[in-house]
Amino acid sequence: MVETLVLLAFLGLIVSTLWWPRPVVRAVGAAFVGGLVFLAFRGPLGVLGAALPALGVAGLAAWGLPQRVLKRVCFMVLSLVLLVFVTTWLMYSVPGNPFASEKQANEQVRAALRAKYGVPESATEFFVLYMGRVLGEGTLGPSLKSQGRTVEELIFPAFPVSMSLGILALTIAVGLGLFLGVRAGLKPNSWSDSGSMAVAMVGISIPNFVIGALAILNFSLLLGWFPVAGWGGYQHLILPAITLALPYAAYIARLARGGTIEVMQQDFIRTARAKGLSERAVVLKHALKGAILPVVSFLGPATAGILTGSFVVETLFTIPGMGQWFVKGAINRDYSVVLGCALLYCALITMFNLLVDMAYALLDPRVREEL
């Protein structure tokens, strides 16, 4: 009951940002920007050390950032809080709890654990406690399953792992996807189109865990080219990156094909050909450009997904990346890990979408003018 009311209040608040007057948006937006900077720097710099740059950035934001961006910031920060609330509420409403064990511990043990880890019995209380911890102490809190560690200590060391795996997977996905997509799009409805797309679609037609298992079986166990699992060197990276890349390559190929078909129908292609440009040059100069544009807008969500959604690959290859926490957190009911992951994912999505917008502007002059 209380939860529903709080939820409605939150929704109302977020919706109301649309009607906020300009000065309010400026002030609140700038304050939020400053707050984010403060939270980011208080760990390494301490309260005072973080306050200075935060104030500076807030001032700059109030002075220099466009109204639209500030409005967006207001919405984003508020929805982050809502995200925490909704996730908490959802977690509390599903069966199970972080301290369940096969042998029922007595009441006292459960109460002691709840006190120790700061997990009250009600969702609202936990939400208040959690927000207090994040804002007041600047920490994502202790993990409930990996005792003695905070959520940061679990997720941050996994970041470089996911980054190296993700960057390679993304490169493979873009390379393979563009190649197949452009090849298919150059001659629609031909055999080369069908063949390329058939290859490309493998990634979204066979479950990832089957592809991974078969890759291990063939290339590691039978041929012995790569280690079966583990983490440490470049040789550990190849199979998982390919497995991770294939589904994304399929989507990219689909987008690239569409882009290529469209661009090849444009007048300037005919002009270029008429000018006597070689087919190779036409493809490299123009078709590729047409193919890249739709792909770029997909890269934002794809990067966020590739960094965080690699549970299957990490499990099959025992890679200590971030993807595991997204599933394990939910399965173990490790509330603080779940919330930490949700916040991280949200931040990544926002960040990569911003980057993509910038890249888009760089590539497409029309969009540049719009911005």
Binding site: V86, E262, P294, A304, G309
Partner: protein
Amino acid sequence: MSTALPPNPSPQAPPEKGTSLTADAWRRLKRNKLAVVGAGLLVAITLLCIVGPLFTGYNPEETDPKNAFLAPSDEHLFGTDSLGRDYFTRVLVGGQTSLMVGFVATLVCLIVGTLYGAVAGYYGGRVDEILMRFVDFFYGIPYMFLVILIMVKVQGDEATKASAVPVFLSLGLVQWLAMARIVRGQVLTLRDQEFVLAARLTGASDARIILRHILPNVLGIVIIYATLTVPAVILLESFLSFLGLGLELSWGVVVSEAVNVVNPVRSYWWLLLWPSVFLAATLLSLNFLGDGLRDAFDPKSRR
């Protein structure tokens, strides 16, 4: 299994009604070899899954552990699984569930997404902005949590009966966002067209205009995207089965069981091969068909 989010579709002209155009589209579709082959294969597999189990002579749940892991033979076309159940029957019955999950979850997503998107697009302005902000908001939640938590919630509430409903619901509910965006984009361009204005002048209610005039016009694109949602949902279900959260018997279930028994120590390869072939053929067909439909009916939105 990926978080593939189709980007915002660009607004475009509505597909005009007219036999010539449709015929044109059909012609284009028929020229697309992959789409034609896909459609045929899909129909064949669906029929086989529905009708096949009646004729195999086995019950998919009838166990016979003494005859576990039999290799394919005349008696058991696809061999038997770890409990001695006829694998052919199991693959076909698993196909029934997988296909059903795919179509029902897509239906859920289609209804929710279309209505949501239509309302947002039709009213536009603030309403649109508010509604689309919620879509943005949901995009920010890792879909994995949503699926797992919704699934566990609905499943846990009815502990004594096995059911596929939670799977439909949770899978449908994470897929509707893209559908809502696409429909909204379409409706935005439709709402100022003459036929809508005409309907409004005759005093039709908003609900009537949306349902009777606008939705029929976006149905084409909705169906196209639905065709692409079905394979995505089936794939997601197989991932849930890999986590052990899925259904009792589906392609995802049999495949994820089989992955563990293909090993240099002992390879019961047929357990992995057959369901994988069926699954891959179905998903490929659906993807090709969806792509083909889009190319044919919506030539400008080749994204």
